[in-house]
Symmetry: C2
Subunit: 576 residues, 2 copies
């Protein structure tokens, strides 16, 4: 029987419950958002005792389904004030599922100054006071924890940024190689810090393989599903070879690569920070160009990036990170960006929020454009040490912009806008404005159709069809985020009819149920509406479903386009 474990951090007690029947068909984002919406008062302070931090594996987590390793974390976000779900790769979703834990819910808040570590294994959950790793960075935590386990285990940890409850703080997750992935966005690391949890370990020892209701049907569906991932050019080749950084040159060509804090759509030195350049460096230095973030990944968009001496620098070196520090901060050196990525992992900060924040800090005159070494110094000497300047920077893009009186602050609902300029790719602008999560590209990745011609073609430069495109993608994404499957299955899902069907077949074979495709789409709609309702109750209404004013005032090269979507049309997003 699937369990829900509630860890009360006020009185340090643990309660294990049978999962309620109403939660049976829910996993991942559907479950975290349901729990947060049901149990967290929408107007509560995100860092206070009434917020909850919820972890949930997806519906297919722990099975042999390809790319089913995603893990969801949910809470009210201190960065956006909205409901938040963030998902990550790593080893933990699989382990929790195999321990038959459907959700792990952290409630309350300790009163004193003590910090804690939490351990999950087959016997349940224990809470112990933690002192050794306090103030330490993530890699130090991993090292400290690794000595306590022999094999397969999971770690969820916060670095100094999370301990200091900064808005840029993420929750980091140990991956299959013992390196870090993260629940990046929305400042969830600050929520974990507010509950005084330094890290959570998950020991899979004694866990059981997932019991499938119909193993043969599962296997058959799984084979079809895996084949679709391998057959599609984006998931089967592009991402495999160049990682997500394959997008640098593509977005530059499309004029939608935000450069120098969103003042241009093209970056002169794009080739120096491209996926192609990354591949060249990796292969020349004995790194790994293709690599999975969790067990059973067939897309392998991750990689291991080494320096010129052949030493490990970073992995999971994403387009978003490279864009934010590269084009947006005008740093044209992939090696420095990789080093910054390593430092960001170590401190436990979201690379999108942090990168965009530094571009704003450059506009504010805090550091020169393009100065990657100064970014490393600011991260190590100011953010890590939580100096006053470190706290301003640690507050994220909006905090820096406000502190320095800027008007060009690329955020929606307080969260930094990612790597696609909404003026030149209007579908993603609809997603940024309307998603329940604050600016977020993954919520409804219109780039697929606007730029990559996946799932058809919608002209990125006109407003026609963008709301419908974003709506369909956001609904599908909310459903996919609930399965534990990687969002990149969306590429084959949009072009190859068997892809989503076989995913539904796997869910049915896993649980012995008979969902239809309509049921899954219905789940996506329900999730979005639950989240939207939470936000409305939190005071975040349609007036905040919009882009910053400067996108309407300034046109962007090379297409010389502004953001000119009618606000009423944007509001029609919710007509479903």
């Amino acid at each position: 029987m699937a369990k829900v474990i509630r860890v009360n951090m006020t009185d340090l007690t643990v309660r294990t419950e049978e999962a309620p029947a109403a939660w049976a068909g829910l996993g991942g984002r559907a479950l975290t958002s349901t729990i947060v919406a049901e149990e967290v008062p929408p107007t509560c302070h995100p860092l206070g005792p009434n917020n909850k931090l919820v972890f949930a594996p997806g519906l297919l987590s722990g099975t042999a389904a390809a790319n089913s390793g995603r893990f969801s974390a949910g809470a009210k976000s201190p960065l956006t004030g909205t409901i938040k779900e963030s998902n990550s790769g790593g080893t933990s979703a699989r382990l929790l599922s195999r321990l038959d834990i459907k959700a792990l819910i952290f409630e309350g808040q300790p009163v004193g100054d003590a910090w804690y570590r939490v351990h999950v294994n087959k016997d349940g959950v224990t809470i112990e006071q933690e002192t050794e790793t306090l103030g330490k960075t993530n890699f130090a935590v991993l090292e400290s924890v690794a000595s306590r386990f022999s094999e397969d285990f999971g770690v969820l940890t916060i670095g100094p940024a999370g301990e200091q409850m900064m808005g840029i703080a993420n929750i980091s997750v140990r991956d299959t190689e013992g390196k870090l992935r993260s629940f990046g966005r929305g400042g969830l690391g600050a929520v974990m810090g507010s509950k005084k949890i330094k890290f959570i370990t998950i020991d899979g020892d004694g866990s059981s393989p997932i019991k499938l209701a119909d193993p043969n049907a599962f296997k058959a569906a799984s084979m079809v599903f895996t084949k679709t991932l391998k057959d599609h050019p984006v998931s089967g080749q592009g991402l495999y070879t160049y990682g997500t950084a394959v997008l640098v040159n593509i977005l530059h060509e499309a004029g939608g690569l935000p450069t120098k804090n969103f003042t241009s759509g093209q970056y002169e030195h794009h080739e120096k920070i491209s996926g192609e350049k990354m591949y060249e460096n990796i292969t020349a230095r004995g790194g790994e160009p293709s690599h999975g973030c969790s067990n059973g990944c067939v897309i392998q968009c991750s990689q291991v990036y080494k320096d010129t001496a052949g030493n490990y620098v970073t992995s999971g070196f994403e387009y978003e990170t490279i864009w934010a520090l590269g084009a947006d901060c005008c740093i044209d050196d992939l090696d420095i960006i990789a080093e910054i990525d390593n430092v960001m992992d170590d401190l436990g900060v979201d690379s999108i929020e942090t990168g965009v924040m530094f571009a704003v800090a450059m506009e504010a005159g805090i550091l020169p454009w393009g100065d990657g070494k100064e970014i490393i110094r600011l991260l190590r000497e100011e953010v890590q040490k939580a100096t006053p300047l470190g706290r301003v920077l640690g507050g994220g893009t909006l905090a820096v912009g406000k502190a320095y009186g800027l008007t060009r602050i690329p955020v929606v609902k307080g969260q930094a806008i990612p790597a696609y300029d909404p003026r030149a790719v209007k579908g993603i602008g609809v997603t940024y404005a309307t998603t329940t999560m604050g600016a977020d590209h993954t919520a409804g990745y219109s780039i697929a159709t606007n730029i990559l011609n996946v799932g058809g073609k919608v002209d990125p430069l006109t407003n026609v069809g963008q709301v419908e495109l974003s709506r369909n993608l956001q609904i599908a994404t909310a459903a996919i985020d609930s399965t534990g499957l990687c969002l990149f299955i969306a590429f084959p899902a949009l072009d190859i009819p068997e892809c989503l069907g076989s995913a539904v077949d796997m869910i049915n074979a896993r649980y012995g149920i008979k969902l239809t495709m309509d049921d899954v789409i219905g789940l996506g709609k329900t999730v979005l509406k639950i989240e939207h309702e939470f936000n409305l109750k939190a005071g975040i209404g349609p007036e905040q479903d919009r882009l910053p004013e400067f996108f309407e005032l300034e046109s962007i090269a090379p297409h010389n386009v502004k953001w000119d979507m009618d606000q009423k049309e944007l509001e029609s997003f919710w007509n479903f």
Copy 2:
């Protein structure tokens, strides 16, 4: 014919228009809010080119009416995101009215780095580049400006905080003694800074006395009105003798004096910072206990405070300032608080926002509780120099609380809660939550009835009747704020029937119109609804009409009460 002057800071042009007929019955807050609501896009960036900064004298400004020297400034507030009207004493309202200028509207924003000064006289408005006083503090600006004029003139200026567009920045106003008053709240100094205006001077030379439609009726009404101000014990005696600081001991006794960042309702050392103690110091040192902030004041709540050597330290030394730095920051020394008040005037920062911010900074560990000398150092060395820490502090109470991950942040809509604990004085809690301006006591001063038994008596500790009390006061206040009359006329107005009637008679005699009391109440309602509508369009809805969560979680001594007003009841505020 009354003029409206539009100063376009984008192209540095000036346009003088005849005031539209629809604005004929409007002045002060009614006019600034009407103009902002009609002309400023509610979702614009407050520091961007689409915001406007509007100054308007009241309907009775420039006449011989007692206490008619208040001057209104309006804009979209960078601190609260709401519409904002702030009003101040000083000499400018009278001068503008006598120049027949009904509103002075600053629009647009210069593109380059140059700063400007604006001069208003009988010939119109001129804009000139300003360099001499850039970076200088307010007293230095006054000194620089004074050398250019011989007699009666007005100055509106921003200090370093406004130049740096900080949330705590106010607009300072020269008073009758050549000292400073201010448009304190809502960060209007940052709006003036965003338009690159260092100061505005108003030369009354060649202006004409106000032409009254019926001088005899005016004189008769004015005598009745003045008598009511002198007859009421609060406006006629209490404020005259002890200034607004008379409230320190009263609120301590009532258990509603927020102490140590709102952790108690009583301050052990209240007597050391009381109005009685202030009076003792002033009289012993040759200061002035009673003093007006503008011509024609008969209440004389201001004073001149000197140090032990008999040197001028500050004037307009208000209860709010003394409470915020005294009880809330635990500083029990009136002399240090006076010195801080002087520094705040010099830098151009709101004393409520700044004082409450420092209490939060003390809770965050930035400085020790009660350390007034360190506050002076932080203001001079950090805020004035706009260091990173200075920018955090300059962002105000919410900015500091967020940067340091606190949950006990006493703000509503981003603006600091003033000197009355809403748990112990529930009517003022309704005002804080519902006013269109962010937490503000003047918007509906329930203390009058909850504590001082003026206008009846409503038990401060129960929720009964508080919404109605606050509603009636907010409506009346919106009307009074439109007349140019000081809000302290509300004390006689609540108890002496002739007071408001004679004020309406004065307006009628001034303009040759026939307003009734109902018309004036109707004006108050209209103003509130215009402001509320603006806020709704700006995305600030009923969910944000609430107090911070910690007031619901923590009870306060000595009454051990929490904030427990039903949210639906609060929302019923708008049923009128």
